[in-house]
Amino acid sequence: MALGWYLTVSALVFCLGAAGVLIRRNPLVILLCLELMLNGGNLALVAFSRGHGSADGQIFALIVMVVAACEVVVGLGLIVAIHRRRLPVDVDELSELRG
């Protein structure tokens, strides 16, 4: 398959993730959509790595996975803390940081 197909899939996944971030109100699902975006990026990286014939892109994708894992851990910790405080787990309700 020509690499352009893989890149198309990657772009679509990324934009679906972006749309999900804008639409959903549950922070858990927002984090999931962020994962989608990261995966879209990973796919592009691996595709290009195959395109250039060097495994550097794959290394990059692995590091992205590490970062995603860390981000998920911290984000979920935040959500647990929010839930513990008995606040509504809804990003529209959590809007006190306003100017």
């Binding site: 197909w5 893989y6 679906l16 999931l32 994962e35 250039h52 014939g53």
Partner: protein, 211 residues
């Protein structure tokens, strides 16, 4: 053969993505993401990135998503009404995302990069193998490797601190079982309550600890 596999995996990935953003129940979103991740792993295999595919399945779908499942179970993924309290973004979000998709596609496909049309450069059998990845990690990208481990440590510590119990702050209540007659509920609204004669242990937990 590869084309068939590609289409199945590609459609699966996109379907999983749409499921993530579409399902009202957070649990179903998590499951769709797992499905999406596995489709992505297949795509990685097609791109000769064996190790990355394996890591995707084992680490991402295996560990990170399991963590998600635990948290969703704890927090509760009840369905939300899709009528937002804040800005009404659903139609606009579709527009913005679509614009972004269009631009990305133009950028990627119309860019004239030769690599886009080819199937990739010639690569040997050792491309994407764990040996090659390992060698790269320990030679060329050693710093990234070490920093990534440090980052994991920091994230773990951060998560523990964020989610710990703080003394004095109201903890989450034990869910009041509505069908059980507790001694407290029996006396609520009577003279016993007004003269502070409620059993000590049944007092509201908010008044425990002198807060």
């Amino acid at each position: 053969m590869t084309e068939v596999l590609f289409f199945i995996a590609g459609v699966g990935a996109i379907a999983g993505a749409m499921g993530v953003i579409g399902f009202g129940n957070a649990f179903y979103s998590v499951l769709s993401l797992v499905f999406h991740l596995i489709s992505l792993a297949v795509l990685f295999l097609l791109l000769q990135a064996q190790f990355v595919a394996a890591a995707q399945v084992v680490v991402y779908a295996g560990a990170v998503m399991v963590l998600y499942v635990f948290v969703v179970a704890y927090v509760g993924g009840k369905g939300q009404s899709l009528a937002p309290v804040g800005p009404a973004l659903t139609p606009l979000a579709a527009v913005f995302a679509a614009a972004l998709a269009v631009e990305l596609l133009i950028a990627l496909l119309g860019s004239g990069l030769s690599v886009v049309n080819s199937t990739g450069a010639a690569s040997g059998a050792s491309f994407g193998t764990p040996e090659q990845i390992g060698e790269l990690f320990l030679t060329k990208f050693l710093l990234a490797f070490e920093v990534a481990s440090y980052l994991l440590l920091v994230a773990a510590v951060g998560a523990v601190i964020l989610a710990r119990r703080r003394r004095g702050l109201p903890d989450e209540p034990t869910p009041a079982p509505s069908h059980v007659e507790s001694p407290r509920l029996a006396l609520v609204g009577t003279m016993a309550e007004t003269v502070h004669a409620l059993p000590e242990s049944e007092r509201s937990p908010a008044h425990r600890g002198g807060w």
